[in-house]
Amino acid sequence: MSKYTEEELEKELQNKEYEYGFYTDIKSDTIPIGLSEDVIRIISAKKNEPQWMLDWRLQAYRVFIEMEEPDWANVNYEKPDLQAISYYSAPNSKPKYDSLDEVDPELLETFKKLGISIDEQKKLAGVAMDIVVDSVSVATTFKKTLAEKGIIFCPISEAIQEHPELVKKYLGTIIPQSDNYYAALNSAVFSDGSFCYIPKGVKCPMELSTYFRINEGGTGQFERTLVIADEGSYVSYLEGCTAPSRDENQLHAACVELIALDDAEIKYSTVQNWYPGNAEGKGGVFNFVTKRGLCENNAKISWTQVETGSAVTWKYPSCVLKGDNSVGEFYSIAVTNNFQQADTGTKMVHLGKNTKSTIISKGISAGKSQNSYRGLVKINSRATNARNFSQCDSLLMGNECGAHTFPYIENSNSTSKVEHEATTSKIGEDQIFYCNQRGIDTEKAIALIVNGFSKEVLNKLPMEFAVEAQKLLEISLEGSVG
């Protein structure tokens, strides 16, 4: 934050409405709207998928049509009309790039606007990226460097072609097709996503990153991410999301499956900044995401998320602690402003012995928004010496927003220890006064206090993301001073 001056903030606040709200005119190949078996066949055919993949999708679709949209979450929205969405939209350029020079210049311009200079990243940050626009993966960097280590990092569509044995073995094992309404929909129509495999004993030398963007209007984004960390490996994975400002609500229903085999560790960080809708609550992305990880013996999965965007968020990154001594962590900051609604949290399912989980959730609500934490800690009778610590803090700004906590704790083991703590408070007038007194204006003071409130979670983010996340928090809360 040191180099961040007041002018910069001012400049940012001028675009604060939603700085990523531009639309890039890239010719794209969009299939007609609607959902049916035929649409799934078209998607599958466009991707040149093998028969087993199509069968898997159709199986999911058949489960899906039997299901009803869930309404237990503490959010209110007009249910999206699934027949009015186009399920496939691909930037209409050459499907493959060998080097960046071949990439559509307009697309590259888009990434510049997003602040993702692929070149720069390549040189400086050492982050390997897979970029998904509308539903299709457009660029994957650093592939060769990774390949030397035996790491597979590619679009999932490519993995289906080139590593079918891995995809077949793991896809849908953690999130079965029938898991929930949106997971079933995703299983049926997912068009792309990232696939990552870290071989035994390999420590991934750089952060892997996926960048998602919805560009085309009237489309839904359904990506599927599968990360497999083989025995003793380590990977840190970043995910970012943006979308243009549109009046209608766009649907984003993703699935992320993480598999950490014995002694492996996966760190998954998300900065979610989908278009939240305008100040009147019009437009914005519906973000209905299913994320789940499986830990084998001594494995560790850590979810970190910063949720600032989306009109409606419905997301519970979870850990199934199957193996003995496995560890699950969840660090979350969820910020809602204006008419945003978020119902987010985690599930920690303790099955193995000596399993540990930590949940730190920070909710900040401003404007007329509603922010809910919903979590489940389940300790199985065989999970001896399981340990959980949960902390959920909510910060309210203004008197038109709401903060809600719905923790579920189910324990059937006498050797386990579970602690849950939750508080709700507001920014103290004395804190603001103290800052004012020292020449920090109220706006900045709030940013400062919010950053302090979120510090525990921000600290868990990788360096590049932490800076971005801090700025995002500030921008999301601008104008919410009560």
Partner: protein, 437 residues
């Protein structure tokens, strides 16, 4: 015959016995219709997610017990706080027992719901308060449809009731399976004070299901101190609905002690409708075997500058199942609220289960709300320390558990209740020590 059919046919039988021209009967008809619509809560409903009532309602209950049998004071004395002088409202199988009770109409009314429902003298109170507060779900509607007896306590302004009021429901076991629907109404006027003890007890091992509804109204600056002692036989089940409305500057303290019974469900709802209210909800649960205790609490803050404190301490052994479902709701206008909720649990056995769901729903920004929930074990070091000083393992465990529950006991204001509960805890933990060390 399904339970619902039985209810419908029994209602016709009831109509032959009661005065159908009253206000209460009008409510009975409405309640029956709403019971028909809502039915018995199912597990798929969020409020009953962890408690299945299925096993309770598949029995053929007798709804109209036979007339009072010969129960003497000696039979019930062990279940009363008999060391102190108290007003007593005693029911045997749902029917009022005049020779065991001590009621009054002097200055205030401590008497019967049946007379309150039928006597025009009481109709202003009945019309203003009766069935105004109880939530309208299937089970409370069932109670309202069949309610004819219970305690009616109405205290006017500026009155301190000098001795506690004991309301005890006994079931004799004359019927092999009995379902009762007790209904209590407590109205406490401005600046008045009252202490009430409520208990449901069966005198035999027969199946009893009690579906009780209590409404408590505390007017401005009133103080209500309410104790529920639940230590029934293992074939008795209790579904209790208690709703409390508080006006400004009032204080209501409610203690629930759950040691007995097969299945106990406590629905406790507090509605604060005035500034500077204070609500205290405390509970101790110690269960074992296959017992099941479910505490479902709601504190609804609708006015500014109020406080609420919840403290539930629970110990589960064998295959016992505990549920704690606590909710604090703070309305937009209810600023400067201080709400605290704590739920501590000890699982003694590997087969015991606790499901906790402490919820906060907050719409006001200037509030201090916190909740804490823990599940853990006894401190091994403390146990070792005591054993090394010659205290037996069993006694040491009991001492630690008692210390765990003691913070709730400390807020009990009637010393006789405190010593009674202490003895019950000792008995429950299988030790013979007084804890008054």
């Amino acid at each position: 015959m399904s339970f619902k059919d039985k209810i419908l046919s029994s209602f016709i039988a009831l109509e032959n016995e009661v005065d159908t021209e009253t206000y209460a009967h009008q409510l009975r008809n409405e309640a029956l219709a709403s019971f028909e619509e809502l039915g018995i809560p199912q597990r798929k409903e969020e409020a009953y997610k962890y408690t299945s009532l299925k096993s309770l309602f598949n029995k053929d209950y007798s709804l109209f017990p036979k007339k009072e049998s010969a129960i003497e004071y000696g039979d019930i004395k062990p279940y009363l706080i008999h060391q102190i002088d108290a007003y007593r409202v005693i029911f045997i199988d749902g029917i009022y027992s005049s020779h065991l009770s001590e009621t009054t109409h002097d200055k205030f009314d401590v008497c019967l719901m049946s007379s309150a429902l039928n006597n025009p003298k009481y109709s202003p109170v009945i019309e203003a308060y009766y069935n105004k507060l109880a939530p309208k779900d299937g089970l409370t509607s069932l109670n309202t449809a069949f309610a004819r007896e219970g305690a009616y306590i109405s205290i006017g302004k500026n009155t301190a009731v000098e001795k506690p009021i004991e309301v005890v429901y006994f079931s004799t076991g004359n019927e092999s399976t009995l379902m009762t629907q007790p209904r209590n109404l407590v109205v406490v006027g401005e600046n008045s004070q009252v202490q009430i003890i409520e208990r449901h007890q069966s005198l035999s091992d027969n199946q009893v299901l009690t579906n009780s509804v209590t409404e408590i109204f505390a007017d401005k600056r009133a103080m209500v101190d309410y104790y529920k002692i639940q230590n029934d036989h293992l074939n008795a089940s209790l579904i209790d609905h208690t709703s409390v409305e508080q006006k400004s500057d009032s204080e209501v303290r409610l203690h629930t002690f759950s040691f007995g019974g097969a299945l106990t469900r406590n629905n406790l709802n507090f509605y604060q409708r005035g500034e500077h209210c204070n609500s205290i909800l405390n509970g101790v649960t110690i269960i074992e075997g296959k017992q099941h205790v479910d505490h479902s609490t709601l504190v609804h803050h609708t006015a500014p500058n109020c406080e609420s404190y919840q403290q539930y301490k629970q110990i589960f052994d064998d295959k016992a199942v505990g549920v704690f479902n606590g909710k604090v709701l703070v309305d937009k206008i209810a600023q400067k609220i201080n709400a605290f909720q704590q739920n501590n649990n000890i699982l003694v056995s590997d087969k015991a289960t606790i499901n906790a769901k402490p919820q906060l729903e907050i719409f006001a920004d200037d509030v201090r709300c916190s909740h804490g929930c823990t599940i853990g074990q006894l401190d091994e070091d403390a146990l070792f320390y005591m054993q090394s000083r010659g205290i037996g393992k069993k006694e040491a465990r009991a001492l630690l558990m008692f210390a765990f529950a003691n913070s709730v006991l400390e807020s009990v204001k009637i010393p006789e209740i405190k010593s009674r509960i202490t003895k019950l805890i000792a008995k429950k933990l299988g030790v013979e020590i007084g804890f008054d060390l």
